[in-house]
Structures are given as C-alpha cells and as structure tokens.
C-alpha cells in the first residue's frame, strides 16, 4: 500500500525490538470478543487510477456551475479565484502543517493569520478579528453566545433578513444555554420593525447586510437604540465581496461582525468547508472566542508572532472557556487572505463594483420578463424576485434547460406557503451578458 512505508522486514525488526511476535500482540488491551467478531464489509485497497475513476464518475453525476449558467447565492457565491491562489494554498508547508503551537517553526502561518486578522478588521470596519471560525453560521452562534456573556443577559432577536441557516445554527447552539433566541418572520417585503423591539433585557439584535433577500440598509439608528438599552448589535455578512462597495458594519455601529469568507476564499464545494469571520470591538476582546495571533519579539528582539490570549480557550480554561473551538478553518482563512492581498484596495473595490453592475444588468433583464416583480428596494449582487407561480418548479424547469436559475425561498421556508413564489437570484463577475440573456429567455418560456 503506497501510503505505508514499513516493509515486512522492517515490521519484523521492530517487533523484535519491542519483544513481541506479531502486531496483534500490541492490541492485547482490546477486548477479545469484539476483536474476534469484527467483520468489515469493505472494498480492498485501490490504485490511484481506480479511485480517480470511481470518484470522477460520481462527480460527473452533478451538473456543475462550469457547465451551466448559474445564478445561485443565498450565502454561497461563485467567484473567480486567481490561479496563483490555489497554487499557494497547496504548498505543503501551509497545507500539511497544523495549528502553530511551536511558533519558532510556524512563523509563516502565524504571520498569515496576523494579516488575515488585519484584513478582516479593515473590511468590516472593526477593531479586532480572530483567526477564523468554522463558517459564518457557527460564527453567528458564537457571536450571540459572546453577547450573552458580555451583557450577562439571556435573550436575542434575529432579524428575518438573516440567513435561515444562521438562524437555525444559532437557535440550536443556544438551545441548552438558556439563551432565548427569537427569530422574526422571514422579511422579503421589508416590513420588519426592529427598533420597536429593542428592550433592556436583550443581549443582542442580529441583522444581516446585505440582507438575506437582498436589501441594503443603514443600521446606524438601530445601533444607537441598541446601545442606549445596553444591547449589542451583531451584523452578519454572507457575501464579503459587498464590503468592497458598501459602508462597513463597523461604521454603522456594529459591536460584533460575523461572516462567511467562502466567496473570497475559493470554490463553493457544495457549501463547505467555508471560513467564519469574527470581528469585534477591542473592549470585548477577552470575551471573544477562537484563536488569535499576536505580535511580539524573539530573544534577539526581532518581530515575530505567537498565538496569544489563550487563557480564553478550552485547553487552558476547560469548562469555563469562551468556546470549545480548537481546529478552525486555517487553510480557508489563508486562501481568503491571499485573495484579498492579490486584490488589494483597487482590485477589491473593482470586484465589488463589477458584481453590483452585473446584478443591475440582470435585474434590468428580469424585470422585463412578464409576471416577474423585483422585491428589494436596494441590493448588492443578489435580489429576490416574485414569480407568478411556485419557484421550486421553475428552477427544476430551468435546470432541464441547462440553467441554474436561482434559489427558491421555499428551500428554506417550506412551511410559509406565501413565500413559495419567491426566487433569489445572484450575479457575479462569473456571469456573462449572454448567460443573463439565456436566463431571461428561459424564464419567459417556463413561466
């Protein structure tokens, strides 16, 4: 077996050095019954060609977005990533290292984390950011838990413009922590009044920008009202490319900003792995979850980096830790950082501007399709449209025509029949005008 270096003579020599006759003798602490009875109905080892053949056949049973014009978003976006990005993250020194526990031989990872933290803080408009969480949804749950610790309160409100998976994951995570999470009704028609719901028993209000259904909104007033009541404002960002064009949440008064970095980090990969972004104000630093890289000096006085403030973490604090997180999403955070560095200020703002322009072009085409109504008053690169019939059937019909036309809202809210006709449509720099024309034409046909 190509992954196993020991030869039979090696094994014999090593067993002799240990003083046992066979490998099985080393397993003598395992209970005899289960050892004897175990039968594994599994295939035998396979060559590289055979594995490739089997998995390629499985991959071929998917209609992937390189083969079909695709307009899917809802928290997971297809962007082009530069060729150098995938090359760099596959360098073995990044790919096959672990958490930088030994800083002297992990300065590469640590400096990259420090740069990541700096970039996330800058684009969110916040003061500090951590080294990443699993994904946007779990980062959101961690934010609500942190708000409860900071305020010593046990109730949270989540807007109907927050991604439903973020709501579900947060509700699940808080279930046994005695934090009462109220999820407001989904809000595609922008009728929700959050300001009227703020009260002094709340730990936090959770909103999203751009909203799940597309809308862009200024949260400054909400932030002021929250702060007067001692409530934290948590802002989710599921499409960080937007931060190249819109006012960052930190400048609107956010106390914690969480988000999903996938759209800038790499392929959609069916939704995972992603990378959770987590940023906050410096005054809440000690309540922040997750790993942090910090600057220091070595014995020769040279600048270097270490993991720091670990007294917040599980390996020191055990049951009193701010989170149980250990492994996070290092490599995807690295990919995010490399892409941000490649883009730079000029590239990042242009990418965002291009995305918005593509979405406007798409909106103009779809608004002309009879029976289609565009809902959000403003948007970045994704918006919701109302169709004259259920969206679930429409996307199936579009798929038969080789177009991945969007995400039906009913995929998330099957128990809200009044949302059945709503379709979320996204455009990025990967969509051409020809793709958009194809969608508009096909939509006319299937409606």
């Amino acid at each position: 077996m190509r992954y196993l270096p020991l030869s039979e003579p090696n094994r014999r020599d090593m067993l002799a050095a240990i003083g046992v006759g066979k490998i099985e003798d080393l397993f003598r602490d395992l209970p005899a019954g289960p050892l004897a009875s175990a039968r594994f109905d599994l295939p035998k080892s396979a060559s590289e060609i055979e594995v490739e053949r089997a998995l390629s056949a499985m991959a071929a049973r998917n209609l992937d977005c390189t083969k079909a014009p695709a307009f899917l978003g809802a928290g997971n976006y297809r962007h082009h990533t530069p060729a150098s990005l995938d090359y760099l993250i596959q360098r073995g020194e990044f790919l096959t290292a672990y958490t930088p526990y030994q800083p002297e031989i992990s300065q590469g990872t640590l400096q990259a984390i420090f740069e990541f933290q700096s970039q996330v803080a800058l684009i969110t408009g916040m003061e500090v950011a951590n080294a990443s969480m699993y994904d946007g949804a779990t980062a959101c749950a961690e934010a609500v838990a942190m708000a409860a610790r900071v305020t010593k309160r046990s109730a949270a409100i989540m807007s109907g413009q927050v991604h439903p998976h973020y709501r579900d994951v947060t509700t699940t995570a808080m279930k046994f922590l005695d934090v009462d999470v109220e999820c407001l009704a989904p809000d595609p028609y922008e009728i929700e009044d959050l300001i009227g719901r703020v009260h002094s028993e709340l730990a936090c209000v959770v909103v999203q920008t751009p909203g799940f259904f597309g809308r862009l909104k200024d949260y400054s007033t909400l932030a002021d009202v929250c702060h007067e009541a001692g409530v934290l404002l948590v802002v989710c960002v599921t499409e960080p490319v937007a931060l190249g064009l819109i006012t960052p949440p930190g400048h609107q008064g956010a106390d914690i900003v969480v988000g999903e970095g996938q759209s800038l980090a790499g392929p959609m990969s069916f939704g995972g792995p992603g990378v959770g972004l987590f940023a906050t104000r410096e005054k809440f630093l000690r309540q922040m979850p997750g790993r942090l890289a910090g600057e220091t000096t070595d014995e020769e006085g040279r600048r270097g980096w270490v993991l720091t403030l670990s007294t917040r973490e599980q390996h020191i604090r055990r049951e009193k830790a701010t989170s149980n997180i250990c492994t996070n999403s290092g490599l995807i955070a690295l990919a995010f950082t490399i892409h941000m560095t490649l883009l730079g200020e000029a590239g990042f703002t242009k990418l965002a501007t291009l995305n918005h322009a593509r979405a406007v072009q798409l909106a103009e085409r779809l608004e002309r399709v009879p029976g289609v109504r565009l809902l959000p008053s403003s948007f970045f690169n994704e918006f919701t449209i109302e169709l004259p019939k259920p969206a679930m059937g429409v996307v199936e019909d579009l798929a038969k025509r080789g177009i991945l036309g969007g995400v039906p809202v009913s995929r998330f809210y099957p128990s809200y029949p009044e949302l059945a006709d709503l379709l979320m449509v996204a455009a990025t720099e990967t969509n051409t005008e020809a793709d958009m024309d194809a969608l508009a034409t096909a939509l006319k046909e299937v409606l």
Binding site: I18, T341, A399
Partner: protein, 519 residues
C-alpha cells in the same frame, strides 16, 4: 555556535531564511494582482449605502504576492517537510490524490442549493462516506455535518441531551469526564448546559472504574471517555464502563480523537458506545491546513439516531434526497442544525478518496503500523527516558519529565532542542495528568529510517541533558529557526492583534505600530 548568535547580514536574511515584511509594509498605492473585466456602466441600486471612505488594504502585484506567501510558507514546519509526532493530532501523510479529487469541477463547482436532481453525485458521495464510517464502527447512524472534533463532541452531547429530554429525563445535568481528557470535552459539556465532574485515573493511566461507578447515578447524563485515551492506552474496561453507564440510564460518549489506533480492528458499537466523533483530518488523512478545516462526523447508536441534526442524506428508491429541516415532518426529532449547508463536503471528498485508496485491508494495516511505530519508539526510548506508563501503548506513547530531573532542562527546553535537530516536537505538557509530558504520535506514514533518526536524536539529547552541564544550551534553543524563542508574556500583556497605520512622523515617514515594535 554561540547561544547569542545575532543576524550578521546587512539584510537580516540568513541564506535561505529570508525576512518578510507584512503586506501592509509592501503597499504600492493602486497596485493589484488581479486584472478584472471592465465594469459596465449601470444605474446604481445601492440604496445610499455606497462607502465613501478608503478601506486601507495594501496593493501588490501578482509576482510580489506569490513571493510573499511562498516565503511565508518556507517559515513553517510541515508533514511534507519532516517528522511531526504531535501527540493526539495524528499528523499523517496527506495524499495529493485527495486534493485532486476535491478539485474536480463536479465536486468543487457545485452550489449547496442547486436542485437536488442536479447534485445526485454529491449526495451519493456523502452517503458513501457515511456508509464507510458506519461499517467501520458498526454504528446505526452518522451525523455528517459537524465541522471538527469539538463540534462533533457537541453534536453527540446534544443528541444525548435531546434523548434524555424526550424520555422525560431532562433533570440529568452532570457529565463525567476523566481528568486526562482534552480540554474540549469539559468545554463542550458546558456548551450543552451540563456541569462537569472529573473522574480520577488509576496509576497505570486508565479510568478508575470503581471511582467512576461511585459517581454514577440517576443524575448523570453522560460519560465522555477518550479511547484510546490521552495516555496512549486503550481503556481495557470500556465494556464494563458502558454497562455501568447504561445501568444508570446514562449515555456513553467515546471521544474518537485517537480512532487511528483502532480503525479496522474492532467495531466500537461492540463496546457499547452511544456516540463518537471521528476526526476526518486525523484518521482519514485530510490536511490539517495550519489549523483546519477539519470535519467531525459523529456516529450514533440506534437509540440516539432519531435525534441526529439536519442535514441528512437519505436514499429513496434510486434517488438521493436531503432532509434539511429539523422538527419537520420528515425529521421530526432532529435536535436542530449545527452548520450551514451540507457540512464539510470538500473534506468528505478527500476522506473518501483516502478510504477507497486504503480499503478495509489498508485501514487495518494502517492502525497496525501506527501502533507498531509508537511501540517501537517507546521500546527504544524507554531505557533512557521515563515512560509514564507500562506498554504496550496504542498509537502514541507518553513520557514524563523524570529523566530530566536535576538537569535544569525542562520539557519545553527539550522540545525546543528537538526543533534545532529538524523535528517537530511532540505534544508537550499534555495529558495534564503526566508531569512534564511528552506525547509522541509517529503515525503509520513514517518509515523505520525516519523513526530511527528521531530516536537517535532524542537519545543523544537525553544523554546531553543528563550530563548536567548543558542546561544553558537547552535554554538557548532553538537557534536555527527563523525566530528564536518568542516572548509570549509580552504578546498577551499588551496585545497587538492587527496592523494599524500610524500618523507620519515629522519627516513625513509613515510607519506601522507593528514595524516600530520591530525596530
């Protein structure tokens, strides 16, 4: 070599060890490494939310960025470049085939909310991975979505809590965790609203079964036991523990962090386990990536299976389907959702590529070789170091710092000296129950030659320490790394966690707080 060696080059570089500024210090205003198509002119629809202020990101060209990260990578130790015996982390070889498979457009370029009819291959991949894990463990079900080991622990405990509540046993609020457990165990129990009580270990490194039994009762919700445990030993009493735990109506959570030692040997279902997470980034060779992403699918007994979180992949006739909503008609007792979308799909692709490559026979040989390698290291080192427990060990062996007593050399010093010798140190000071622990996990992907080189080095260092005159050399290590020992106290006392621009000085020179600290 002087212990106080200074950089004596003009640039500060030392041959191949090249200094690298932060990206913020390499900024060329307006530069970019990405050329994009022209932006079409449109009427903006941003609702007045357009940002007017600059963000502050640095600009660099593609060659500068490629060089920057290539140089950073060269300041890392990795499995590709050397032996990485970091105990309880299973740093085994990461096959590149896994990477190639995860990058097939049919896996990489699919969206989580495409119509399910267009992603049958992806659902099949999840289902196939799940079937391997169930067959290997003998368990009834597996929750695929947890993102890492600690996340899988939480999944298991949430299933347990949901099961207790469904049975009207919600008053059970205590989880028993051995003293030797990893910190995530008690942290996870706390996140599930449970209070943690410690179970002592016996002198030979096992859970004290009698002490455990004394603590059991109708108030206990679950017992979490890492097996093989963090002392590198299989819990011989696992079946008796399971029986005792079940006897009081509690559940047995087995932490599968060390599953690599027993994969393909026995089915953990036969031990009476109710739930166990599996770190795909350990046992199933997916890369650790400098700290993730991993995946922690959690196998469940028939009693806990109904409470598994969504999403779940099911097969209806010849078609695959996904259950995406908890407490809905098709998943009425699912306790909720732990993660967005369909879990760590890209990690599943890599793990399945590995499982298919290894096969049932290869996985069994892998655990055999992993345990053989650890016992070989233990046997060769035991005379000169002080093993914390009698062998045989499982896939890792632990030494205490007894052999360093009176030498003035600590476990930390010893580890740093190993760095100068070209090795990643073992896990240090863990498990906590072993004084000054060095926890060595070679994994099955190291050759005998590689182990012999490590053993020779450790023995030489031990002999050097025991001379009693080498403490200064050990304190000075490492010498040959991009950085010498770093001041962690300083980092924590006045945290600098990001680059910040500072106002230009009176000569008009801008500099970062970060840069100044370096000068």
């Amino acid at each position: 070599m002087s212990a106080h060696m200074k950089a004596d080059t003009t640039s500060g570089n030392r041959g191949l060890a090249i200094e690298q500024l932060l990206i913020f210090e390499q900024d060329t205003k307006g530069a970019t490494g990405v050329d994009l198509p022209d932006v079409p002119k449109v009427r903006e629809r941003l609702g007045g939310m357009k940002n007017a202020a600059p963000i502050g990101l640095p600009g660099m060209s593609e060659p500068e960025v490629v060089r920057h990260y290539t140089r950073l990578s060269q300041r890392n130790y990795s499995i590709d470049t050397g032996f990485y015996p970091l105990g309880s982390c299973t740093m085994k070889h990461n096959p590149r085939l896994n990477e190639k498979m995860a990058r097939l457009p049919g896996f990489a370029e699919i969206h989580p909310f495409q119509p399910l009819s267009t992603v049958q291959g992806a659902l099949e991949l999840i289902d196939t991975t799940a079937r391997w894990l169930k067959e290997l463990t003998g368990m009834a079900a597996v929750a695929m979505s947890p993102a890492a080991g600690a996340h899988g622990e939480l999944c298991g405990l949430m299933c347990i809590r949901a099961a207790h509540e469904a049975a009207g046993n919600g008053a059970r609020k205590i989880v028993l965790v051995p003293e030797s457990a990893h910190g995530t165990n008690p942290a996870t129990a706390a996140l599930c609203g449970y209070t943690v009580e410690a179970v002592p270990a016996t002198a030979d490194g096992h859970v004290d079964l009698d002490a455990l039994k004394l603590k059991l009762g109708p108030h206990i919700a679950a017992v979490m036991i890492t097996n093989p445990n963090t002392c590198g030993l299989f819990e011989k009493d696992a079946i008796a523990i399971a029986e005792a735990v079940h006897g009081v109506g509690a559940y047995f959570y087995m932490d599968g962090a060390n599953y690599n030692a027993i994969v393909g040997r026995l089915k953990i279902a036969d031990l009476g386990v109710d739930a166990m997470h599996i770190n795909l980034h350990k046992t199933f060779s997916t890369p650790h990536g400098g700290g993730g992403p991993g995946a922690g699918p959690t196998v469940l007994s028939a009693k806990l299976a109904p409470f598994a979180p969504v999403p779940q992949v099911i097969k209806v006739g010849e078609k695959f389907d996904a259950l995406e909503h908890a407490q809905s008609p098709r998943a009425p007792t699912a306790f909720g959702r732990m993660k967005g979308y369909h879990g760590q799909f890209g990690v599943f692709v890599r793990a399945l590529a590995y499982m298919m490559a290894m096969g049932g026979d290869g996985l069994r040989q892998a655990s055999g070789d992993a345990v053989l390698n650890a016992n070989y290291v233990m046997a060769r080192l035991s005379k000169d170091l002080t093993p914390a427990f009698a062998g045989p060990c499982m896939h890792e062996c632990v030494f205490d710092d007894g052999f360093l007593k009176g030498t003035g050399v600590s476990t930390l010093d010893f580890a740093k000296a190993l760095i100068d010798e070209g090795f990643h140190p073992p896990t240090m000071y863990f498990p906590l129950v072993v004084h000054g622990a060095l926890l060595i996990e070679p994994t099955e992907t190291e050759s005998k030659a590689s182990l012999d080189q490590f053993i020779t080095t450790v023995l030489a260092l031990a002999a050097k320490a025991k001379t009693g005159t080498a403490a200064d050399d050990f304190h000075a290590a490492p010498l040959f790394t991009p950085r010498r020992r770093l001041d962690e106290t300083k980092a924590a006392r006045k945290p600098i966690l990001r680059w910040k621009p500072v106002a230009p000085d009176r000569d008009g020179n801008g500099a970062s707080a970060s840069r100044q600290a370096a000068e």
